[in-house]
Subunit: 149 residues, 4 copies
């Protein structure tokens, strides 16, 4: 996807999905990683009662957490461990549908920093939030961390 993509062989999708299945908080919230490969990822959530805030709309924390999983999966799909350093979220609309979808893609990647855009929509296609994520790459390979976790 970018010039640095080839530094490490991309991690197989099944391995990445198996690793992110260990994300306890995402499981607790009901978020599922649907796709992840070579700098891109897609996560989904069925809206349930426990996702609402005090005025009965989906909580900003739910929208952020969904985006965060897609961002983390995309950022860690290239072989080296990446951790979120900064995320800027713009909240644009309230969902009208019943399902939330986050799609993340890499816009730039260097040796130490990589930038991702995440769009969160509902199933009607309405864009609800945009996240700009900046990840910091660590020297470890992702497969080593998988094995330890």
């Amino acid at each position: 996807m970018t010039k640095h993509a080839g530094q490490e062989p991309p991690v197989p999708e099944e391995d990445l999905k198996r690793f992110f299945k260990k994300d306890v908080f995402c499981n607790y919230v009901g978020i599922e990683l649907k796709e992840v490969f070579d700098g891109r990822a897609k996560a989904e959530l069925e809206i349930r009662e426990e996702h609402l805030n005090g005025i009965r709309i989906v909580h900003g924390g739910v929208i952020y957490t969904l985006a965060d999983l897609a961002f983390a999966a995309a950022a860690n799909s290239k072989g080296r461990v990446a951790v979120a350093a900064n995320a800027s979220v713009s909240f644009l609309k309230s969902p009208k549908g019943h399902r939330l979808i986050a799609e993340a893609w890499e816009v730039s990647s260097s040796r130490t920093l990589a930038s991702y855009t995440v769009h969160v929509s509902d199933e009607t296609g309405e864009l609800l939030a945009v996240v700009q994520g900046l990840a910091y790459r660590r020297p470890e390979k992702i497969v080593e961390v998988f094995d330890r976790a």
Copy 2:
């Protein structure tokens, strides 16, 4: 706290706490609003198994959600309804303690926009994340929305 603070009488703390008790997602995650008055708020969380991510550290979504409640409470404490328009989160350290504390305060407020800073720490005083939140004020009074919700 700022020049616009006096436009409406600040909402009594007990009313604000009662309203934010209706925040279903924060209840589900185990977040409690401890203090809220006149542009400031404090929220807390005991770290539990369900808050962890795949590498067994507190999930970024948990840290964001805790900060979001403090931000929302601070922003809505002045009388007029405020909704989050943008939040920028910098993730600085992983928690070493057992409890997370978010403290939010207003840094500026005009008729339509207001800016908040949130610091998320653990109980050892270590700063884990900083959030810069921008809220958009709507014409409705907060007490009217409280009654409807």
Copy 3:
């Protein structure tokens, strides 16, 4: 471009360019608006000695100012006045070329808030910075403000 795009007839490109020619600071810095229409804009800059910082690379303020013009032009191209409320800039690489190009496009637009992405590259196509901009729409029409300024 988005559902709200049609609320007002888009402003003719020549009118928008004529208006942004009055931007004194962009003229001083040497930034030129090349294209602007219906939620998109492109601005350019030839790198000169006065754009450098203390370590002889292009100043972050120059990159931001270039992105800001593209963001402002895109946000004001739809008929209603829009002002920047928030911008988050990720600095990814230092330019290797001699010219900087900022391209802005609208990713979402509602009655009061609109979101823009800006990519700043050099002429070799290397992506140097990504900006996520959030604009707040005011009730005035852009042509009225043009006439006053």
Copy 4:
């Protein structure tokens, strides 16, 4: 200022000021670094005709550039080279005065990342913009880079 502050002796203020005097763009814009020491910095600007935008208010790029210098000076005052990775700017009000003042301070610092807050005000004390800056620390010492530049 933070636990990592002591890792290197802080750089003398006169050395930092002398280095930032080489910032060509800040000189061109008329920005002056007034104070810088141990994670804090203050920069100022007299508002002139060339700082205005098309509607005759101070350009967002000027406000950002002023904040960026204070951020950079604060981030580089501790001994190790720091480069801006992300900056989130909230624009709150238009200046009523004739002078702009940016004050930056470190809120957190670890081995690789450090976080800064910058407040930009006019001389009446009105807060105009808030910047949250995230810097990435490189292994080089700042004095080595000073000597090369």
